[in-house]
C-alpha cells in the first residue's frame, strides 16, 4: 500500500466568483490523524467534499489512496469512509436497519454485514438497543454508530467532518479513543473539529482561513512557533490575524 494517503496540489474550488478553497497543498501519510481546523466558512467541508468525490475541483490536483479525483472517483469511493457534517443516519430506521443499509450500499454480503454489525454494536455498547429507532439515541451514540457505519467496508482512509460537535465531554473522549484505535490499525483519519483540545490529539493539524492554508504542523511545533501554551490560543491568534480577503466576493 502507498505510504501517501492523500495528496493535493493547489486544489481550488470556486462557487461563482467566490473562492471557497484557495490553492490548498497538503500531503497526508498513511496512519496519520490529520486535523483540519479553521473558522466557520474557512473551506474545510468544501475541501473534504472534493476529496470524497462529492464536488469537482475548479483547479489543481488531488489524489486519494493513489487515485486521481478527476478520473477515478469511483475507485476513491471504494477506499474511503465519510461522515458528513450533518447527521447522516436515518432517524426512522432502527440501529440494526441502518447498519444493514450502509452495508448493503457498499455491496457487502449479508453474512459479512451480520458479523460486522455485531462487532459494531458491541463496540458502541448498544447491545440492548439494536431494535430502537436511531432518533431516540443520544447524540454521542449516534455519532459513534455513524462512524461505524461509514467504516463497515473497512476503508483505509476516513474523512470525519465535525464528528463531535454537540457531543458531551465524555462521549467525545470515547469517540477519540476509537479514532486512535483506527489510526493505530493503520487507517488514515482526516478530521475537522472546533474543539481545540481535540486538535491536540491529532498528529498534525492544518489551519485554514478564508480558503487558504495558513498553518500546518504538529500541535507541539505550532504552539512552539507561535509562542502559545495551547491550541486554543494558537487558533485564536491565527484566525484573528487580519482577514486578507477583500470585501464581498460574490
Amino acid at each position: 500500500m502507498n505510504e501517501i494517503a492523500v495528496q493535493t496540489q493547489n486544489l481550488t474550488r470556486r462557487f461563482g466568483k467566490f473562492t471557497a478553497v484557495d490553492r490548498l497543498t497538503i500531503t497526508v501519510s498513511r496512519g496519520e490523524i490529520f486535523g483540519f481546523l479553521g473558522a466557520n466558512g474557512a473551506g474545510k467541508t468544501t475541501a473534504i467534499r472534493m476529496l470524497c468525490g462529492l464536488l469537482l475541483p475548479s483547479e489543481g490536483e488531488a489524489t486519494v489512496a493513489g487515485f486521481d479525483v478527476y478520473k477515478s472517483s469511483e475507485a476513491i469511493k471504494k477506499n474511503i469512509g465519510y461522515m458528513s457534517q450533518r447527521f447522516s443516519l436515518y432517524d426512522d430506521l432502527t440501529i440494526s436497519e441502518n447498519i444493514d443499509f450502509f452495508g448493503g450500499v457498499y455491496g457487502l454480503s449479508p453474512a459479512l454485514i451480520e458479523e460486522r454489525k455485531e462487532a459494531l454494536i458491541e463496540q458502541v455498547g448498544l447491545g440492548d438497543f439494536r431494535k430502537r429507532l436511531t432518533r431516540d439515541l443520544p447524540l454521542g451514540f449516534k455519532q459513534r454508530l455513524a462512524l461505524g457505519s461509514a467504516m463497515l467496508h473497512d476503508p483505509p482512509i476516513i474523512f470525519l467532518d465535525e464528528p463531535t460537535s454537540g457531543v458531551d465531554p465524555r462521549a467525545r473522549r470515547e469517540f477519540w479513543s476509537i479514532i486512535n484505535e483506527l489510526a493505530a490499525a493503520g487507517k488514515t483519519v482526516f478530521v475537522t473539529t472546533h474543539f481545540m483540545d481535540e486538535a491536540e490529539y491529532c498528529h498534525r493539524v492544518s489551519i485554514m482561513r478564508a480558503g487558504k492554508l495558513i498553518a500546518l504542523d504538529s500541535p507541539g511545533k505550532l504552539k512552539e512557533s507561535y509562542g502559545r501554551n495551547n491550541m486554543q490560543d494558537v487558533f485564536v491568534a491565527l484566525v484573528n490575524d487580519e482577514d486578507p480577503r477583500p470585501e464581498e466576493q460574490l
Partner: protein, 306 residues
C-alpha cells in the same frame, strides 16, 4: 424575585424517564446554564419552559405565569432558539435577518445598531447577499443565532446555541449574551462546551433527568472533593496506564496534551518523583490546578463523586 420557577417537573416518553422531578429557580436578569450529557433531559426541560411540551407532573412558572394556563402570555415575553433551528434556505442572510426583525416587530431605528453588533459576532457581513442554503454549517448556526438575538425578549431560552460554531465566534457570542443580560433579560442556555459553563452566573449539572449539582460555577467547582493535578511532558497513554494502577488515584482524564488526575490527598513531591522513576517518565511535569467544570462533569459521569 424569581423569574422562572421549575418545581418538581417530571416527564416520561414511553419507557424513558426524561425528567425525574427537577426543581430550580432563576432570578430575573440571571444567566443560567444547563450542563449535561446527551440525553440527560436538557431539551425536554427547555421545551417545557417554552410551553411546547406539557410535563407529566410538577409546575413551571415564567414571570409569574403558569405554562399550562397562560401559553399566549408566556410566548409573548419569551424568545426561544431550538437545538436545530433552520432558516429559510432560499432567503439571503440579510433577508433572513430582516424577516425575523419584522416578525418580532423590532423598531426600525433600533435595527442598525443591533445588526452591527450581530454582524460583528457572526462575521457574516461580507456574505449578506448569499443564500442561507449556501452557507457553511457553522455559518448557518451563527445566522440562526443572530435571528434569535435580533429582538430582546424578557426571557431568552437557547438550546445548544453554539453547536458547530468556531472558538472565536463562540467567545464573541458570549459577549453578546452578557450584554443582553446586562439589559435585564433572563437567559437560560444549554451547552455541551464546558468552558461556556464558566460564563454563566449559575449552572445546573444534569444527569439522567436529575440535577446532580447546582450553583455558581465557582461553588460547583469548589464542592469538588479531590485535588486535581495536570500532568504533561511525557507519553500520556503510558502514563495513564501506569497511574491507573496506583491506589491513590481517584480519576484520570485526558485533556488535550495533558492528563488531569485527581487524588483525595495531595501526593508528596517524593511520591511524584518515585512515580516518574518507577514508571520511566523522566520528563514528567506535574502541577496542582483548580478543577474545571469539565473535571467535575467527567468525575460525575464516571461516578467518582457518588
Amino acid at each position: 424575585m424569581h423569574h422562572l420557577i421549575v418545581d418538581n417537573v417530571a416527564k416520561t416518553y414511553g419507557e424513558t424517564r426524561a425528567l425525574k422531578g427537577v426543581s430550580l429557580a432563576v432570578e430575573k436578569g440571571e444567566l443560567f446554564g444547563l450542563i449535561g450529557p446527551d440525553g440527560a433531559g436538557k431539551t425536554t426541560l427547555l421545551r417545557s419552559i417554552c410551553t411546547l411540551l406539557v410535563p407529566d407532573s410538577g409546575s413551571i412558572t415564567v414571570a409569574g405565569l403558569d405554562i399550562s394556563r397562560d401559553v399566549p402570555a408566556i410566548r409573548a415575553i419569551l424568545g426561544y432558539m431550538p437545538q436545530r433551528f433552520s432558516l429559510y434556505q432560499d432567503l439571503s442572510v440579510a433577508q433572513n435577518l430582516r424577516f425575523f426583525a419584522d416578525l418580532f416587530q423590532v423598531p426600525k431605528h433600533e435595527r442598525p445598531e443591533r445588526l452591527a453588533r450581530l454582524y460583528h459576532f457572526s462575521r457574516l457581513e461580507p456574505f449578506k447577499s448569499r443564500l442561507a442554503g449556501n452557507l457553511s454549517g457553522g455559518m448557518k448556526q451563527k445566522l440562526a443565532l443572530s435571528c434569535a438575538l435580533i429582538h430582546t425578549p424578557e426571557i431568552l431560552v437557547l438550546d445548544e446555541p453554539t453547536f458547530g460554531v468556531d472558538p472565536v465566534s463562540r467567545q464573541e457570542f458570549w459577549e453578546i449574551l452578557h450584554q443582553i443580560r446586562a439589559g435585564g433579560t433572563t437567559i437560560v442556555v444549554s451547552t455541551a462546551y464546558m468552558d461556556e459553563a464558566d460564563q454563566c452566573d449559575r449552572i445546573a449539572l444534569f444527569f439522567e433527568g436529575e440535577i446532580a449539582a447546582m450553583g455558581s460555577p465557582a461553588a460547583v467547582k469548589g464542592a469538588f472533593p479531590y485535588r486535581v493535578y495536570r500532568l504533561s511532558g511525557t507519553a500520556l497513554q503510558d502514563l495513564k496506564t501506569f497511574l491507573e494502577g496506583q491506589p491513590e488515584v481517584r480519576g484520570i482524564q485526558l485533556f488535550g496534551d495533558a492528563l488531569h488526575v485527581s487524588f483525595s490527598e495531595k501526593p508528596s513531591p517524593e511520591t511524584w518523583r518515585e512515580w516518574a522513576r518507577r514508571g520511566g517518565f523522566p520528563g514528567l511535569r506535574w502541577e496542582e490546578i483548580s478543577p474545571s467544570i469539565e473535571d467535575v462533569f467527567l468525575a460525575h459521569m464516571a461516578g467518582e463523586t457518588a
